[in-house]
């Protein structure tokens, strides 16, 4: 014990102790900072190594087939989009959940209110636009590059319609400073990029 004490009193030992702890302190604080930065950008970070094991089945060319039962977007105030990409007024919804194709206002694959960057101001049109068959490539590219934060959501999605319903919803990508939209006018996006940031 005496040896130890004597040893401890030596200047170089203390120096080493101090140096080590200082190094540890600095690295740990730096690491923590890194971690917080990473956490904050968790959703923006696009990790090229990481891929979501998505299992979406795009059934192409089936839009002409007769559906007996349709899923639709349920939530709309006045409009609804069915799984074939038709947008119609609520009053034009058939009992099987499909839009009445013969109603004058019903449109298929309509991109009304959507901007070039793939963001729309009306959710139902975003879904309809996203259901366009030629959007499949875009969606696949998005799924392959989607951030880890969306893993839960997009691995649970099973087909094109569900994907579009989920993709068009506002999400963590839609906000700035948490409590404001990046772009309150066009906040529903089927595309890859988040809504364009509008200046305050």
């Amino acid at each position: 014990m005496m040896v130890l004490r004597r040893l401890l009193r030596k200047r170089w030992v203390l120096g080493v102790v101090f140096g080590l702890s200082l190094i540890y302190f600095l690295t740990s604080t730096l690491k923590q900072e890194e971690r917080t930065i990473r956490d904050r950008t968790l959703l923006e970070a696009k990790d090229s190594d990481h891929r979501i094991p998505w299992k979406v089945r795009f059934n192409l060319g089936n839009s002409s087939r007769q559906m007996t039962q349709c899923r639709n977007s349920i939530q709309g105030k006045t409009l609804l989009t069915d799984e074939l990409g038709y947008v119609c007024d609520r009053k034009d919804l058939l009992i099987n959940g499909c839009c009445n194709v013969n109603a004058p206002s019903t449109r298929q694959y309509i991109c009304k209110s959507c901007l070039a960057n793939g963001c729309c101001s009306i959710y139902e049109y975003c879904v309809s636009c996203c259901l366009q068959p030629d959007k499949q490539l875009l969606l696949e590219r998005f799924l392959n590059r989607a951030a880890e934060g969306f893993q839960n959501l997009f691995t649970a999605v099973e087909d094109h319609f569900e994907l579009c319903l989920a993709k068009c919803r506002t999400s963590s990508q839609s906000v700035q400073h948490e409590n404001t939209y990046r772009n309150p006018q066009a906040k529903y996006c089927y595309g890859e990029s988040p809504p364009e940031l509008l200046p305050v």
Partner: protein
């Protein structure tokens, strides 16, 4: 006799003690025996015993009391009476049969009485208030699911199976013994764990679905655990958005959110909640733990489509912590909605502990899962799940709560979901004469010329997610009930989406009733239409009509001097902007967020003015929009808004014509404002206040014409004025005042100096109160006071309602209070030439939140003056029929969803209420990614300090660690490897520390 012991002893020991005590007394002739108690508790140790003593002498009782283990001896009769009034339950202690029996009997007798009283329509709260103390003992030892009679449904085989319940909380550990059907756990936070590190999420999940020990409501329901709250209680809107999206995708049925915050203007969040309910997710949320202050409802529980849950204790009193009052979204122009929708047990509820076992917690976050669990169980009983939706569930809850409020919400279960429910209204009738249920409406009768009374009714439409009101609501006055004496205007949501909409009924008195007194009645008929989903015919609509009975009390228009107008239009609050607190000492509550309305945080002041006979009305429009000749005094308290130039001109003219003005200002100091900026963890932004406590520069613009101004001083302190103790909490002083006015000055602490430099200095003779009679003929009077805290309910320490009375006497009747005019503290009015007046903080963003300013190149400029609100009165369709009085006798029972109850006296015993203490149950109810998480004002300065301290701690820790790790090998090495081992040991033995290998 009941013999109380000093501790808990077994039956044998108790009898031994009594035996020995009575024997020692030497009174051998005494006949006594212990009354046996047959209840499950008799096996456990108890702290009392029942002894039957025939013909006791005072002496023998005394000897009994003298025994060291006997605390007291009391005749049993007396105990019963005491208990009736002061029950001090110890949940752990077993109770006496006799006591229990007595309770039981009287309780049973009270039960039918309560029922009949309800059906008779007498106030429910009176009934429970009287009998509440009895139910307590029975209720406490049982679990909340049993109290709410969930076992009835369990026995019928309904246990919540097939219903997907999402718990948005702090997570849940994987192998918790209480849960059998956890379908999925997901994490949405930045912490890489799914487990609950706080216990809150486990508790909430337990109340909903625990299957053993502390039973939850729906043990077979499918649990989806969403971890959206970190162990540090951090949570962001964006996490919620993603998690909610997942919940929609997973087709969750019931979602419990025991989290909330005041930011109802977090549009992404609010929109998302709408989206969620529009997708048929029944959302149950806690109303908040910010009571008993009014105007403290939390979002999202305050939304129409969400079931907002408040807390009561086991005595059916609204729990003290439960947030209450109207919603404040609608201010200043409109009037708030009634919330919460339902109240249930939220105090001392038992639920699952973090790892195992049970614990009790209090808070509205506890009450919320009680309802969520009940909703889940209810939903599982319904065969046709299509009929269950957020609106119909809420309707069912409110309807059932009506029958046996808060206690047995299961009585209706089946009948309610046999078909689509017609739309219903909440509140379902407007009876402005009924107190206390209809507080504040019942507190002030209406009269001709007053501001219209607005009642904001919520339409719940269970027919479909969207709906609309067909044509226009129809106003049908009952002629025999003087219905033609009132005018009614109705505004409503153009589309009822999702599941709900508002129906704002403005009531005003017709001119012909200007001097009439009496009761007027009528009803409003609303037809709601929703697209028919199950109709084979395309474009079919379901329609349904609801009636909203109205009953009001009319009095003749009171004289001008009795009428006070409260300026609501110029109050701004959080959200949306950072409007700092009015009392700078309250560091944990940095925001001015209660709405500053006479029915929220100025409620006490309102009640006081009413009791003094004043009639108080609210101005929700610019000053240009009222007839000043009707009012005696305009009250402007803690105004943050700017003024239109037209308003300034109009007010001058009004005051010349006899209107009086009372201004309660507050602090405004740009240096302090810069100092109270903070980094908001949730929005990840620095928050800089846009005004001080009040907007003093704007007020100065308003009053400058009379040669008055407030300063940018910041003062604080106790003083006494006219023999009243007063407290000045962060107020400003009067900088200029006309020389013939009365000015009162006091010695106060310079709080500005304290905030900025941490120095204390007392300033002598700070002018705080000024009274002035304007010179023009018949001109009004103006009163200025530098601090609003003494009439504000939030953080008030000492009220100054007496002063308000005196000031109103002065403004309304021109009676100068002698206590002020002859006060020792009266000083010469300040001319204020030496100090410049406060200027607006440069670069403030007030224009973003202001109704007056708009952004402009350079300085923001006033907008064009908006048109005054115009009500289009509904064309009456008089009915010559008598009001169906029984209609709302039935509906009257809807007492539970309100907090507007004069609480039966709050008792000393308060079960485990821990409102918002960090780390405790309440604490979760603050943030929700909505409210700023940390209010660290001095972040800039404290970081280095923390870093330094941290460095020191780390350093010392490692020094210790290193000495330890070094000492061990040093000790062993020589022993094992070196031959000097013996020497070493020799040395060490001399020091007296022999290592034993």
């Amino acid at each position: 006799y009941i013999v109380g012991f000093t501790g808990y002893f077994s039956a044998k020991a108790r009898s031994l003690y009594i035996n020995s005590a009575l024997r020692n007394g030497g009174d051998g002739a005494l006949e006594w025996h212990i009354v046996p108690r047959e209840n499950p508790a008799s096996d456990f140790p108890s702290d009392f015993e029942l002894v039957h003593i025939s013909q006791p002498s005072p002496n023998s009782l005394k000897t009994l009391e003298d025994h060291p283990y006997i605390k007291r001896v009391t005749p049993q009769r007396q105990v019963f009476r005491v208990l009736k009034y002061v029950p001090t339950p110890e949940p752990a202690a077993p109770w006496n049969t006799t006591r229990g029996k007595q309770k039981w009997q009287s309780w049973q007798s009270s039960r039918p009485f309560r029922r009949t009283s309800l059906s008779l329509g007498s106030g429910f709260w009176h009934a429970t208030g009287r009998h509440s103390s009895r139910r307590l003992l029975r209720a406490i030892p049982r679990h909340v699911a049993q109290i709410l009679q969930a076992d009835v449904l369990w026995q019928m085989g309904h246990t919540g199976s097939g219903v997907k319940v999402a718990v948005f909380d702090t997570g849940l550990s994987e192998k918790h013994p209480h849960f059998k059907n956890v379908k999925e756990r997901t994490n949405w936070t930045n912490e890489k764990t799914l487990d609950d590190g706080l216990g809150h999420g486990t508790f909430v999940a337990g109340v909903i679905a625990s299957m053993r020990e502390c039973q939850g409501f729906a043990p077979d329901s499918e649990l989806h655990i969403f971890r959206v709250f970190t162990n540090n209680q951090v949570s962001y809107t964006s996490w919620f958005l993603d998690a909610f999206n997942y919940a929609i995708l997973k087709k969750i049925d019931v979602l419990n959110l025991s989290i909330g915050g005041p930011d109802f203007m977090d549009h992404p969040f609010v929109d998302k909640v709408w989206e969620l309910t529009a997708n048929k997710v029944i959302m149950v949320s806690a109303i908040g733990n910010d009571g008993p202050l009014y105007g403290t409802l939390n979002n999202p529980a305050d939304q129409m489509d969400v079931i907002g849950v408040g807390g009561i204790d086991f005595e059916d009193n609204i729990a003290r912590f439960s947030s209450r009052g109207m919603t404040t979204w609608e201010l200043p122009g409109g009037y708030g909605r009634v919330k919460p929708d339902i109240v249930t047990y939220g105090s001392g509820v038992r639920g699952s502990g973090m790892k195992e076992g049970c614990r009790s917690l209090s808070g509205t976050s506890v009450a919320s899962p009680v309802v969520a669990g009940a909703v889940t169980l209810l939903a599982s009983t319904v065969l046709n799940r299509e009929l269950v939706n957020p609106a119909s569930m809420k309707q069912a809850l409110i309807a059932s709560a009506r029958r046996l409020p808060g206690v047995n919400m299961f009585e209706i279960t089946h009948s309610c979901f046999s078909s689509l429910l017609p739309p219903s209204l909440s509140p379902s009738y407007i009876d402005l004469t009924e107190c206390p249920y209809m507080w504040p409406y019942c507190s002030q009768p209406i009269y001709y010329g007053g501001m219209p009374t607005i009642v904001n009714v919520t339409i719940l439409n269970g027919m479909g997610v969207t709906g609309r009101i067909v044509d226009k609501p129809i106003w049908q006055p009952y002629l025999p009930q003087n219905g033609d004496h009132i005018d009614v205007a109705v505004s409503y949501s153009p589309v009822l989406w999702p599941w709900a909409g508002y129906l704002a009924v403005s009531i005003s008195v017709a001119k012909k009733a200007a001097s009439w007194e009496g009761i007027a009645q009528g009803h409003v008929m609303v037809t709601v239409a929703s697209p028919a989903e199950n109709d084979s015919e395309v474009g079919g609509e379901m329609t349904s009509t609801v009636k909203l009975p109205i009953k009001v009390k009319i009095v003749p228009t009171p004289p001008r001097s009795k009428r006070v107008l409260w300026d609501q239009y110029h109050n701004l609050r959080y959200p949306p902007g950072y409007f700092p607190r009015d009392n700078l000492r309250m560091k944990n509550d940095p925001l001015d967020w209660n709405g500053d309305h006479i029915h929220t945080n100025f409620r006490d002041m309102y009640q006081h003015l009413r009791s003094m006979g004043y009639f108080v009305e609210v101005l929700g429009a610019p000053i240009t929009c009222f007839d000043a000749s009707q009012y005696g005094t305009l009250l402007m308290v803690d105004s943050e808004e700017e003024y239109f130039p037209e308003e300034i001109t109009k007010l001058r003219r009004d005051i010349d014509n006899g209107l009086s003005l009372i201004v309660f200002s507050d602090w405004y100091n740009t240096s302090v404002m810069r100092k109270v900026k903070f980094y908001d963890e949730n929005t990840r932004q620095w928050w800089m206040p846009d005004t001080g406590g009040a907007n003093v520069p704007a007020l100065n613009d308003l009053i400058s014409v009379w040669g008055m101004a407030f300063s940018d001083g910041l003062y604080e302190g106790d003083f006494s004025l006219a023999e009243h103790d007063m407290y000045y909490a962060s107020g400003c002083s009067i900088a200029r005042f006309p020389e013939d006015g009365i000015v009162i000055a006091k010695n106060l602490k310079d709080q500005g100096l304290e905030v900025l430099k941490q120095e204390t200095a007392v300033v002598e003779g700070v002018p705080i109160l000024g009274l002035y009679q304007t010179p023009s003929d018949g001109g009004g009077r103006i009163v200025l006071y530098g601090d609003s805290n003494c009439i504000d309910d939030s953080h008030r320490q000492k009220d100054c309602f007496w002063m308000l009375d005196a000031l109103l006497q002065y403004t309304s009747y021109s009676m100068t209070p002698p206590s002020l005019s002859h006060s020792h503290s009266r000083v010469a009015p300040p001319t204020g030439t030496e100090h410049p007046l406060p200027q607006r903080l440069e670069g403030n963003h007030l224009y973003r939140y202001s109704k007056v300013l708009e952004a402009h190149l350079g300085d923001p400029k006033p907008r064009p003056l908006p048109a005054c609100p115009h009500l289009s009165w509904a064309k009456p369709q008089p009915l010559n029929e008598t009001a169906p009085s029984n209609l709302w006798k039935h509906q009257k029972l809807l007492s539970v969803d309100l907090d507007k109850v004069a609480l039966p006296n709050v008792r000393a015993y308060r079960p485990q209420v821990r409102p918002l203490s960090p780390g405790e149950s309440g604490a979760w109810d603050i943030p929700g990614g909505i409210m700023p998480g940390r209010y660290n004002q001095e972040v800039g300065q404290t970081i280095p300090v923390f870093a330094f301290l941290g460095a020191m701690v780390v350093l010392s820790f490692f020094v210790v660690q290193l000495t330890k790790t070094k000492s061990k090998p040093k000790r062993r090495k020589p022993r094992i490897k070196r031959p000097t081992y013996l020497q070493q040991q020799q040395q060490q033995t001399t020091t007296g520390k022999t290592p034993t290998v």
